[in-house]
């Protein structure tokens, strides 16, 4: 078998791209089953209330209404620890109260108005700080502090480090609540066959979350639940399950017919899962020469009514503080508070962009105060391939943590320095950057830098099956969902490269619990590293069998034609290594133009340098980086969910007022990939999905400061905030 061309590092076209851009791809809301009914959800008009009674008799009497579910239809089984399928307490304006299935969506909508609900209104609380006060209204039985205590981790002693510091710098930061705004709204379709159910849905985990949750809630074995995601219209790490699929399946069972529910855009905003409002306090103590001696970060996150992704989002706030700069003493404390706002959840980058915002702005301020070029400061103190100082605490035979606290463990690879140098050269840092605060005039330009590190997909279980048949096809079964990031294509490239087959020989089967082996959540930028490794190993095994059992010779076609039975390779792996931490790295550079009269910031240039190991598909990888940067520039500038402080009503659940940036306001993003193949990743690849969003807020704030002499500490950077900051700068 000869191989003329390597597929790794080649920008092959995205699989099924033509289907997606021509409308042939079937998303969940496009699917229809015979006899299917349409569901709608009744939502609470109150931020906090007890449901005393629901009388659905008038709604049931409406012709065309086939089933209604309320809290009376649910068992004790829960979707999450804090979330029942339906409840007698509603915790935000928009919380689910009941669901209706009817012959049409408009009948279902009409029926909602005929459901009589007696609410006993309770006092709501909307701010995290208020919710954590002892006398605050309690949302859940165990109090408003999620988990009952703060999450706190420490390396060395920040108390000692601060005491030994020559100077201590500090800052207080704020980031907003906003919607993730995937183009596709959430949808689910459920169809029963006896006591088994098939659920098609928007998903990021058909195996690891949906199948288990549905089995539990519906009281049937997991084997009786099949979950399929046919295509996703934007995941962004966000499509955590709430109640949608459970309600759909409950309605379908009660009605005895298939039911589909598709969220409206308003529902997607209020009943999807949002990025949580967060406040961060940061202290950094430095020696006389600027060396960091202690980094101490405390964050409070407003989780809203339910916590969809546990404490993982909060934990990531501290990732940069704990590991981006070489420092013996670092601490992160995170508190997550329930409030009567729409529920938060996971979203691209989790807490990392928030924590990096605080960290990279204060680092910039330290360099400025000490009279050191912020580029040089970072070159002097960024974490090196050796990792952090200190003593390893993880036992030697156990996998190294990839969001570590302890020191004493090196990285598998770390090209952060190359990223800094390459990005600085591209933007012209040495030649073009003026001294901070020296610009004059109404409109001022500035250049800023911000760095990032991100967990790279270690410590995750993955499985794959590769089946080669005599017709020359290789079927790759993997249970993950391609949420839009392109994993289907990248995994196919890895399979074809390993098998030595043409790419066209690969048939990808994904995101169906019936036809794929168990898989992890599509999250944490883990898929290429973990599932890629599983696909590679399964393909190696299948290839070994092919070579062993084939009567044929020659190229791929000749070899496979000689097979009597399919050659099947399977793999079950856990990514990671006991010897090294896997992280991706990035250095971003922004050039902005600030109109000091109107407070408008225009990003004129953006350079993103990334170490994600070896790049499997350069064009898709560049799109992934520029897409992530643009998404977070929009969040940096304007996007926000506005909650009425009196009622808890979401005032802007629409594209007009949520202010997602449109394409005319985006700069081109210049993408640079740095670093060599990672020794642990499949073909040397590391994580890429989330790292591009991590440094964006700080890069803008630091460029703004270079232009004006003042840093912005609150996202979004609205004209009101910009003008207020400039005013403070003049004072």
């Amino acid at each position: 078998m000869t191989q003329t061309e390597t597929l790794i590092g080649t920008s092959v076209g995205r699989i099924r791209l033509a289907d997606r851009v021509t409308g042939r791809a079937e998303y969940t809301a496009d699917l229809k089953r015979p006899g299917m009914l349409y569901g709608r959800v009744l939502r609470s008009p109150h931020a906090h209330a007890r449901i005393a009674r629901i009388d659905a008799s008038r709604a049931l009497a409406l012709p065309g209404v086939r089933a209604i579910v309320t809290y009376e239809d649910v068992s004790d089984a829960r979707i999450d620890a804090d979330l029942a399928p339906l409840d007698t307490i509603v915790r935000f304006v928009g919380d689910e109260v009941a669901a209706v299935a009817a012959d049409s969506e408009s009948i279902a909508e009409d029926a909602l108005a005929l459901i009589d609900v007696d609410y006993e209104v309770m006092t709501p609380v909307f701010e995290a700080a208020d919710a954590l006060k002892p006398d605050a209204p309690q949302l859940h039985p165990n109090g408003n502090l999620v988990g009952g205590s703060a999450l706190e981790v420490e390396r060395g002693s920040v108390r000692e480090g601060l005491a030994a510091s020559d100077r201590v710098f500090e800052g207080r930061f704020h980031t907003q609540m906003h919607g993730p705004v995937g183009m596709e709204t959430r949808a689910a379709l459920a169809e029963w066959d006896g006591d088994s159910v098939t659920v098609w849905k928007t998903s990021r985990a058909v195996h690891a979350v949906d199948r288990q949750t549905l089995a539990r809630v519906l009281g049937i074995p997991a084997d009786n639940v099949r979950v399929i995601c046919t295509a996703m219209g934007g995941g962004f790490g966000n499509k955590d399950e709430g109640r949608l699929a459970s309600l759909t399946a409950m309605l379908a069972r009660k009605a005895g017919r298939p039911v589909r529910i598709e969220y409206s855009r308003v529902e997607e905003f209020i009943a999807g899962r949002n990025r949580q409002e967060t406040d961060i306090d940061l202290q950094i103590g430095v020696a006389a020469d600027g060396r960091p001696l202690a980094i101490d970060m405390e964050a409070t996150m407003n989780a809203g009514a339910y916590v969809a992704s546990g404490m993982g989002v909060t934990r990531r706030i501290g990732q940069g503080a704990l590991y981006l700069y070489t420092c013996e003493n670092a601490r992160f404390k995170g508190m997550t508070a329930y409030t009567n706002r729409p529920a938060g959840g996971s979203f691209r980058g989790l807490g990392a962009p928030l924590g990096h915002f605080a960290l990279e702005v204060v680092i910039d301020q330290i360099a400025h105060e000490l009279g050191i070029d912020p580029l040089d400061y970072r070159l002097a103190h960024h974490v090196t391939p050796a990792g952090q100082p200190g003593v390893r605490k993880t036992p030697l035979h156990e996998l190294a943590p990839d969001q570590p606290v302890e020191g004493g463990i090196p990285f598998s690879s770390n090209a952060l320095r190359e990223c800094i140098l390459a990005g600085a050269e591209r933007i012209g840092w040495r030649e073009r950057r003026q001294a901070t605060g020296s610009a004059t005039g109404e409109v001022r330009r500035g250049i800023g830098i911000a760095l990032g590190n991100y967990k790279g997909g270690g410590n995750v279980n993955a499985q794959a099956e590769v089946r080669i048949s005599k017709d020359g096809r290789a079927r790759v079964a993997i249970g993950n969902v391609d949420v839009g990031q392109g994993s289907e294509t990248v995994l196919a490239q890895i399979a074809a490269e390993t098998l030595g087959s043409p790419l066209a020989a690969i048939e990808m089967v994904m995101a169906d619990t019936e036809t794929t082996p168990p898989a992890h959540v599509t999250a944490g930028s883990a898929t290429t590293m973990t599932s890629g490794t599983a696909v590679k190993q399964a393909a190696e095994e299948a290839l070994r069998q092919l070579k062993e059992r084939s009567a044929g010779t020659g190229d791929w076609v000749g070899l496979t034609a000689g097979l009597a039975d399919d050659a099947v390779g399977t793999a079950a792996i856990t990514s990671g290594s006991p010897d090294a931490i896997i992280n991706s790295f990035t250095a971003h550079f922004a050039e902005v133009e600030v109109d000091t009269l109107t407070g408008r910031i225009r990003v004129v240039r953006y350079v993103a340098a990334h170490d994600s190991g070896r790049i499997i598909n350069p064009r898709m990888a560049e799109n992934q980086v520029s897409g992530g940067v643009l998404q977070f520039l929009g969040i940096a500038m304007r996007e926000e969910m506005l909650i009425d402080k009196r009622s808890g009503v979401t005032l802007n659940p629409n594209f007009l007022e949520h202010k997602s940036t449109s394409i005319v306001d985006f700069p081109p993003v210049e993408v640079i990939f740095c670093g060599d193949a990672d020794p642990l990743g499949p073909y040397g690849a590391k994580a890429l999905g989330e790292p591009p969003v991590v440094p964006v807020f700080a890069a803008i704030s630091n460029a703004f400061a270079n232009a004006t002499g003042v840093w912005l500490h609150e996202v979004p950077f609205t004209p009101a905030r910009v003008l207020a900051a400039l005013q403070r700068g003049r004072a």
């Binding site: 109107t598 407070g599 009425d644 202010k659 449109s662 005319v664 306001d665 003008l723």
Partner: protein, 327 residues
């Protein structure tokens, strides 16, 4: 959206006959349908004006122009007749929403659109404008669409992009009603929240705006329309400024400065106009006029930044007009 009946009268007369308290005329529908969908208004009948094609013309009239109320925003944008002094109206039209909405929305609809106050636009937050007995917006931090020149119970600003330049051009609105037609100056068309916070204009439920009359202007008069908004495309104004004058012997004459989205109605700024009138344009004077224009501003707790925006738009607007008039 609740079921609603739909009438398609063939003439203005029959359209007027159909109008009452429970009905609403619909042209482009870009604002009305949104209000109905959000459940913040409740009408039993929509009266389509689609058949009244006479009302879409833009034509010479008494030395100026007459613009039918059904002319679309994009008709203004691309009209070869909006030249010279009238250019500013085309510029304002180009700043409205998005191309899709400009092709759909009409001049009459733009002048009669309802405020963008987030609390008004939410069915779940009662307010004076929706017939309630309090204003949740004035105590909230979300005041981009609220007045910096006071209010009365309601503080919502009028969002029209066309109204401020029409006021600068001394336009008159022709209104047809059961007892004939009347003309109203563009400035006095808007009432603000007094006496009734549920409405914004003098238009009665049984009346229709049929056309806008632009009087003749001195041929050298030029105006510019500038709009501060969060995004380059698609957004309503946070504040807008229409500035215009001609240069007579190097001195400014016929000065007009009108702020939009700054007060419950679009407002002229006579002190600032007087400060410029008869003077030679300069950066310094432009800034003085900007300061004078906002001297009476009384911002709410969270919209003081609109003063800065308005000043910048005015001072830059004066200099833009100066260069357009060849100063």
């Amino acid at each position: 959206v609740k079921p609603i009946s739909f009438e398609e009268p063939a003439s203005l007369r029959s359209a007027l006959d159909l109008l009452d308290d429970r009905s609403r005329p619909i042209a482009g529908g870009s604002d009305l349908l949104g209000e109905l969908k959000e459940g913040i208004v409740d009408y039993s009948t929509l009266i389509s004006l689609a058949a009244l094609s006479d009302m879409r013309r833009i034509e010479p009239y008494e030395g100026g122009l007459r613009i039918g109320a059904l002319a679309t925003i994009s008709d203004l944008e691309f009209s070869p007749q909006l030249t010279g002094p009238y250019q500013m109206l085309a510029e304002a039209a180009r700043g409205v929403a998005t191309p899709e909405i400009r092709y759909q929305g009409t001049v009459g609809g733009n002048l009669c659109q309802r405020p963008r106050c987030l609390h008004y636009r939410s069915a779940l937050t009662p307010c004076f404008k929706k017939g309630g007995d309090s204003c949740p917006a004035v105590e909230s931090p979300y005041q981009d669409y609220l007045s910096i020149f006071g209010g009365s119970r309601c503080y919502a600003v009028h969002p029209s992009d066309l109204a401020p330049p029409l006021i600068a051009l001394d336009a008159r609105l022709v209104i047809a009603g059961p007892s004939g037609t009347r003309e109203v100056g563009a400035e006095s068309f808007f009432t603000g929240p007094d006496p009734d916070p549920r409405r914004e204009t003098v238009l009665e439920p049984r009346e229709l705006v049929t056309s806008v009359i632009l009087p003749p202007m001195p041929s050298g008069w030029r105006g510019v329309y500038s709009k501060a908004r969060p995004r380059t495309a698609g957004d309503f104004a946070i504040v807008s400024a229409s500035v215009g004058f001609e240069l007579k012997g190097g001195r400014m004459a016929g000065v007009r400065i009108v702020l939009g989205s700054a007060a419950p109605t679009p407002i002229r700024r006579p002190l600032a106009e007087a400060l410029l009138e008869g003077q030679e344009p300069s950066e310094d004077l432009a800034q003085q006029a900007a300061v004078a224009a906002l001297a009476e501003a009384q911002p709410l707790s969270d919209n003081g930044f609109k003063i800065d925006l308005a000043r910048a738009l005015i001072s830059r607007g004066v200099m833009r007009v100066a260069s357009a008039t060849g100063a």
